[in-house]
């Protein structure tokens, strides 16, 4: 009897539940608990979650070694959420069901592990903030949402986590919401992500429609039905929905309707979702603005974990993506283009966090390039290593900001490279950890970034995506990316890697080398004396520099920037160690690739026949290319680093200045991020705005003006007519009453010989006379002019037989209680057509 069997692995409840509990307690009672309790709660929540994750991962390792290469999943079924109907009419259950496999297990460890370190860092970084409890409530909620995203066993549940992290991201970007720009940045991130979410939703609908399944296992088994060669099984693109344009719009009708494979439709829709979450072209614009949030947030959400969700999703649904080589090509191209574009922007930015943000976008581009080239292990391995070095870089930047904050309180200036420099003397721990992470990201040989980036470059060069359905339908022509694509993307990536090395070294040199430009650093003994003389009660607290000083004159000499406390440096050191060493997890010397081997079962289905070595080449060629790629990888690193060294250390920034003055137009263009935001403003946003303005004008002038005014005019006119009846004179009302009474009396005094005729079948008709007070009836059915009975009687109905095609006239006489008599002739016609049908 096992405590946690693989099919009911309830330890997941602890992994997920602790951060949720932390978020709940800190969110509801945080303010009353006090900062210490909030800190303990937040740290223990993520800490326990991390501990449980380690236990879960260890047992996963154990199970996996027992199963020998099978795809092991630790499953915990919480409850049945809902069910829907698939395209084939089958019931598709949607359960709140979580699973840990090789892929999500690694992700889970990264999220909880790096998450814990960043929580620890934030306890010190955010100390004294008035939203301390709120911050940790959001941060814990983020960890929970991210874990839901990772551990979900089906797409709808993943979507819950996907939206959850989007919400937390929004809340944390706009954490200091008093500043309008921060709130706007949060909103921008949220809206850009919503566009992506739309794609994910569409993909979900298509998957239910075509595979009739939503959980990973079912999708993996049903994925092949996404490639259907019959006309019915395809997705109509133009005309939309398979309609037809006729008449005036006939020119819109193509001669052959444009349809695509469901696999391509699903892949592209998913890709839209991934570009939103993972900040790729065209939806990357939110990530640089997201730096408005506190720095630990940037490190955790906008570098290490949430933004990699897109790559995670591609890896998770690799077996869907490989079915469409076109989608794979799109992913690779988007990745390469994003990597290059973001890298060029990062070269000229002056804000530490902006440089790191664009660096993140660029690295995410590399990951997309990796997965897009069909090498999911390589892409995911870069996710893994990137989490460490980018978190370390951001936290290092936070440490620098923390140090600058002692005297500079302007949020923009504390992170402006032009005010920094020479910090390695005063911030030794921050310096060497930052250096380690920088070496990793620029691909210094044998660091983690070196291995993961080489892997991507290598796979990109040698891999070629083909449809795995090629062997099943040999006569059908499947789309195939051009042969030269791999080479083009390889060189793009090499240039991007070179730029990465340049801008990261620029960032490092400008921050930690050269002269400090923030303020004049005076001698401590002298400063203490001055302060005592000036105002003893307002003395500097040299312990930590968090105290705020009003209107500090920066030209005055002050204390040197100080190193951060241990809560901030310890996470930095741990992350730095991983940044350097994590690459060895996949390269323990020789051909052993433990990480690739570990992930192999996850990508087994996707691998089969989908990714081949580029045509016309052999296995031996591919192996020979490895040294070629390594050469250029190291060369890119060396060129970038050397250029940065020459520019910013040897020549002290003079070449950079002369370059920017030589090409002012280009410099401004890149500094303004290629004005992509402005382009979006001018095209998409302006379009939406004009639609909104048109709608507002229609609302104002047509709905409010014409329709509402016309209606009110009618009401007002009839009101003013009816108002004249309201004379206010009691006698007029009395007279009106009398008139009414007389009318009613007249109505009751006269008999009303009304009757209805009903068809009773068989040529029979029943005539029913309307009832009334004291009414008596006399019928004349035979049409001789005289009543059938001489006396008035109580018979209200008369049965009558009328032959087809004949018409009979019946006379009805009614006498009321007052003795008044009235009569009416009723014609009963039997048309011939009504009987012929039966």
């Amino acid at each position: 009897m096992m405590l946690f069997p693989t099919d009911d692995y309830s330890l997941i409840a602890i992994i997920l539940g602790m951060p949720l509990l932390g978020a709940f307690i800190n969110g509801v009672w945080g303010k009353r608990l006090g900062d210490t309790a909030v800190r303990v709660m937040a740290l223990s929540a993520v800490g326990v979650s991390f501990g449980a994750s380690v236990v879960a991962f260890a047992s996963l390792l154990q199970f996996a070694s027992q199963e020998h290469g099978a795809h092991v999943r630790l499953i915990w079924n919480a409850w049945e959420w809902m069910h829907t109907t698939g395209g084939t009419g089958n019931v598709v259950p949607v359960a709140v069901r979580f699973s840990i496999d090789a892929l999500s297990g690694v992700m889970m460890l990264v999220v909880t592990g790096v998450g814990f370190l960043i929580h620890l860092y934030a306890t010190s970084y955010m100390a004294g903030d008035k939203g301390f409890a709120r911050f940790f409530a959001y941060l814990n909620l983020f960890i929970f949402s991210m874990l839901v995203l990772i551990l979900a066993d089906n797409l709808p549940l993943l979507f819950v986590g996907w939206e959850g992290v989007g919400l937390c991201s929004y809340l944390l970007i706009g954490f200091w919401y008093e500043t309008l720009a921060n709130a706007a940045a949060g909103k921008k991130a949220f809206i850009a992500n919503r566009i992506g979410d739309f794609g994910l939703l569409v993909a979900m609908f298509l998957l239910v429609r075509f595979t009739g399944s939503l959980d990973w296992n079912g999708l993996e088994n049903g994925a092949s039905s996404l490639v259907s060669l019959s006309g019915q099984g395809r997705v109509d693109v133009w005309p939309p929905g398979g309609g037809e344009y006729t008449g005036v719009f006939h020119w819109l009708q193509p001669s052959v309707p444009l349809t695509i494979l469901p696999a391509t439709a699903v892949g592209l829709a998913l890709l839209l979702g991934c570009t939103g979450k993972s900040a790729q072209i065209p939806l990357y614009v939110w990530l640089p603005d997201a730096m408005a949030g506190p720095t630990p947030v940037s490190a955790l959400i906008h570098a290490a974990t949430m933004v990699t969700a897109g790559i995670y999703l591609v890896c998770r649904l690799a077996f869907v993506f490989v079915l469409s080589p076109f989608t794979m090509m799109c992913i690779a191209i988007i990745g390469a283009a994003t990597a290059l574009l973001a890298a060029t922007i990062a070269v000229v930015q002056n804000d530490i966090k902006k440089v790191l943000a664009y660096s993140t976008i660029s690295q995410l581009g590399f990951m997309f390039l990796g997965v897009g080239s069909g090498s999911f292990e390589a892409g995911f391995f870069h996710v893994f290593t990137h989490a460490f070095f980018k978190a370390c870089l951001f936290l290092g930047a936070g440490s620098v900001i923390h140090a600058m904050h002692a005297r500079i309180h302007d949020a923009d200036k504390t992170q402006d490279l032009r005010y920094l420099g020479g910090l390695r003397k005063w911030l030794p721990h921050t310096h060497w950890t930052f250096l380690a992470a920088t070496l990793a990201i620029i691909g210094f040989p044998l660091t983690s970034g070196f291995f993961s980036k080489e892997e991507i470059l290598y796979r990109e060069l040698i891999n070629h995506s083909v449809s795995p359905m090629r062997s099943r339908y040999p006569k059908y022509h499947f789309f195939e990316p051009p042969q030269a694509l791999g080479t083009v993307l390889f060189w793009t990536a090499v240039i991007a890697a070179c730029l990465t090395a340049f801008y990261m070294c620029r960032l490092y040199f400008l921050t930690f080398w050269g002269d400090f430009k923030g303020w004049t650093v005076g001698r401590p003994s002298l400063l203490a004396k001055q302060e005592l003389e000036a105002s003893p009660h307002d003395a500097h607290d040299t312990g930590d520099g968090d105290d705020h000083h009003p209107a500090d004159d920066l030209s005055m000499p002050g204390y040197a920037p100080h190193e951060s406390p241990w809560q901030m440096t310890i996470p930095l050191m741990i992350l730095a160690v991983f940044a350097v060493a994590a690459g060895l997890l996949n390269h323990l010397g020789g051909d052993k690739r433990p990480m690739d081997h570990w992930l192999e079962p996850v990508f087994k289905t996707a691998r089969q026949g989908a990714v081949v070595i580029a045509e016309g080449h052999t296995e031996a060629w591919a192996q020979g290319e490895e040294s070629f790629v390594t050469t250029f990888g190291v060369l890119a690193f060396a060129v970038g680093t050397g250029l940065a060294w020459w520019m910013y250390i040897a020549k002290k920034g003079a070449p950079a200045k002369s370059l920017s003055t030589a090409m002012p137009g280009l410099y401004r263009l890149v500094l303004d991020k290629w004005r992509i935001d402005e382009l979006y403003d001018a095209t998409i946003l302006a379009g939406v705005d004009s639609v909104a303005e048109t709608s507002a004008a229609v609302d104002k002038y047509v709905v409010d003006g014409l329709l509402a005014r016309f209606t009110s005019l009618v009401v007002a006119a009839s009101g003013s007519i009816l108002r004249t009846l309201q004379t206010g004179v009691v006698h007029v009302y009395g007279a009106t009453m009398v008139v009414g009474l007389v009318a009613m009396g007249w109505f009751f005094a006269t008999p009303h010989p009304d009757a209805t005729v009903a068809d009773a079948g068989n040529d029979d008709y029943v005539i029913t006379a309307a009832p009334g007070v004291g009414y008596k009836y006399r019928w004349d059915a035979d049409g001789d002019g005289a009543p059938d009975k001489p006396e008035f009687g109580p018979d209200t109905t008369l049965k009558l037989h009328v032959e087809a095609g004949k018409t009979t006239t019946v006379n009805l006489e009614v006498r009321n209680a007052f003795g008044f008599v009235k009569s009416r002739a009723i014609q009963v016609a039997h048309s011939r057509t009504s009987t012929s049908s039966l």
Binding site: R723, G728, V730, G734, V738
Partner: protein
């Protein structure tokens, strides 16, 4: 024995007189009295019909005999009393407000 038709004619005459008085006279008090006259005309009709009904019933002595008409007349008298009380109160407040009991000068609710 006076036939019931005579009562009905008398009752109708009184009712029409009351109605005319209500419509024609401008004094609110008189209008109120006219309403009472109309109600009494109705009472007379009720009582007379009930009486005629009883007379017809006495010949056969069937158990359905009732005095509903007479009892109903009492109800009408009670309602009349209440109506007079409320009406006079209205007239009083109208007089306090406008210093007149002429109904055509009480037209605050006009239009």
């Amino acid at each position: 024995m006076i036939p019931v038709g005579h009562y009905i004619i008398l009752s109708s005459v009184i009712f029409v007189l009351g109605g005319l008085g209500f419509l024609v006279r401008r004094n609110v008090l008189v209008a109120l009295m006219s309403i009472d006259v109309m109600l009494n005309a109705v009472n007379l009709a009720l009582v007379a019909f009930n009486r005629a009904h009883l007379r017809a019933g006495r010949l056969q002595a069937y158990p359905g005999q009732s005095h509903t008409g007479q009892i109903f007349a009492f109800f009408v008298i009670a309602v009349e009393a209440a109506e007079v009380a409320v009406g006079l109160a209205i007239v009083l407040s109208l007089f306090r407000l406008t210093r007149t009991v002429r109904s055509d000068e009480a037209h605050l609710l006009r239009n």
